[in-house]
């Protein structure tokens, strides 16, 4: 049985659990280093990246998480998760130049239909005070852009989106993560 850990310090972790459970996998919440055993994959949810970063540091989770990701643990980060994964001094899972709150303040938050490389159907993407990637490294593949801002990408075992698939009923992206990163079937 596939088991996915979801970082549950702050943010929309229950929403990710609902999406993953709908696809038939088991989920556990990660709050301490002890919760990092026997995981087939990891999800870093949307939330406040500065808060999550401080809590990761305070609970001594930053180093063990970074190590697991570098060892190849399949990892999916959304919004704040993208920020943490692309900051070199945080989790450093994807090479890229991240711009926090890149689309503006809450007033400018938006929904749009997004075409992603690798997905059959357009995806209902919810952007909330969202970041974007200005550039990514040569090992990364861009999956979607809005006005030349990279909003979805992957690199080796890491998948990131600037928007929140956990806020919609569409499970295409969670299924994509499970299929191409976790089970590789």
């Amino acid at each position: 049985m596939t088991q996915i850990g979801i970082l549950a310090l702050q943010g929309a972790f229950t929403e990710h659990a609902r999406a993953l459970q709908a696809l038939g996998v088991t989920t556990t919440f990660v709050r301490t280093a002890a919760d990092l055993t026997d995981l087939d994959g990891l999800v870093l949810p949307g939330g406040e990246s500065t808060t999550m970063r401080k809590l990761l540091t305070r609970e001594n989770l930053l180093a063990p998480l970074r190590q697991l990701i570098h060892q190849g643990l399949p990892t999916f980060g959304t919004c704040a998760g993208l920020v943490l994964l692309s900051q070199p001094d945080a989790l450093n899972g994807l090479t890229g130049d991240v711009v926090r709150n890149g689309f503006g303040r809450q007033r400018e938050s938006f929904e749009t239909e997004l075409t992603l490389q690798g997905l059959a159907q357009p995806f209902p993407a919810v952007f909330i005070r969202a970041p974007y990637l200005k550039t990514v490294g040569p090992d990364a593949t861009v999956l979607a852009q809005i006005d030349h801002r990279i909003v979805a990408a992957q690199q080796a075992n890491v998948l990131v989106t600037a928007f929140h698939p956990e806020l919609t009923a569409d499970t295409q992206l969670h299924a994509y993560f499970l299929k191409h990163f976790v089970t590789k079937s």
């Binding site: 310090l9 943010g11 939330g47 808060t51 303040r105 007033r107 400018e108 938006f110 239909e113």
Partner: protein, 295 residues
């Protein structure tokens, strides 16, 4: 490709991103920096914390936009600000300023004793206080995208917030357990929109996030509220009226993120110094109670 701003999902989703976090009242740039460094998920910019509003007396209004702007320029986390109940002009000003969330708040002196703001009409989402499920659903009906208990602001006394959270949770259970044909009578008794009562019955929960507010002053208070069903915490006077704001802020953030890890909460609660002094509620007159404000 159609792009839409200010949708229900975007407004409610913003509050979902704040879950299991602490939103802190701050009265200046220095306090905002302390809150952000402690791990707050947002700050609430206001002229005075609620306990100082009580002391100062007089009419409490929206904060000077220049002060809110200076805080928006300082921190990267979301900035919220308060308007008086029913004061739609103050709300339009905050919307024009670009704050991330507006709190239509009983902490300020109400501007309208008949009507709340029609919150669905704004680009910026709103949070409102509630004492029971009826009040919660009326606010959602007007367009609130986030709720919080009212508690009794500025008292450092958690008892009212506990009452409000327990009441809402109990009433949700009653709505869920009811038969569909009972829902109209329940809606009448709660003075709540029927469609929203149906929605709670079907979903088993509120359609928006519900935080605790009003009287949280220690890490243990935060843990108590999280275990009663709060999805996050607002702290007003509790941080900057304590002996050591930096330590209190950090400890309350940790307790909110780990609400059942009591060994950890014991550790972060140790040697904090004095919490805010607080007020026993029986010493307040009915007129002095802020929770009674609003319709």
């Amino acid at each position: 490709m159609t792009t839409e701003t200010a949708t229900l999902k975007v407004k409610r989703g913003m509050a979902q991103m704040q879950k299991q976090g602490v939103i802190m009242d701050v009265a200046n740039v220095e306090q905002a920096k302390i809150a952000e460094a402690a791990g707050a998920v947002a700050v609430m910019a206001l002229e005075r914390v609620p306990s100082d509003i009580r002391t100062a007396g007089g009419v409490a209004r929206m904060t000077d936009p220049a002060m809110i702007q200076s805080i928006m320029d300082t921190v990267t986390i979301p900035v919220m600000a308060k308007v008086r109940i029913g004061h739609f002009a103050e709300a339009r000003i905050l919307e024009a300023l670009g704050v991330d969330y507006i709190d239509e708040s009983e902490v300020l002196t109400p501007a309208d004793d008949n009507y709340h703001i029609q919150k669905a009409d704004y680009k910026v989402p709103f949070v409102c206080g509630c004492r029971d499920l009826g009040e919660a659903l009326r606010r959602i009906g007007e367009g609130a995208a986030m709720l919080r208990t009212k508690g009794e602001p500025g008292t450092g006394n958690i008892v009212e917030a506990v009452r409000h959270m327990e009441k809402v949770q109990t009433q949700i259970k009653q709505v869920v357990a009811a038969d569909p044909e009972q829902l109209m009578t329940i809606a009448r008794d709660l003075k709540a929109p029927y469609e929203l009562v149906q929605e709670v019955h079907a979903a088993g929960k509120l359609p928006v996030v519900n935080f605790a507010a009003g009287g949280v002053s220690t890490p243990a208070d935060a843990a108590l509220m999280m275990n009663l069903g709060a999805e996050g915490i607002f702290v007003g006077s509790g941080i900057f009226k304590s002996d050591n704001p930096e330590k209190f802020a950090k400890a309350i953030v940790t307790a909110t993120a780990h609400p059942t890890d009591y060994a950890l909460i014991a550790k972060v609660s140790s040697g904090l110094g004095n919490a805010m002094k607080g007020i026993e509620l029986s010493t307040l007159t009915e007129a002095e109670k802020m929770a009674n404000r609003g319709i």
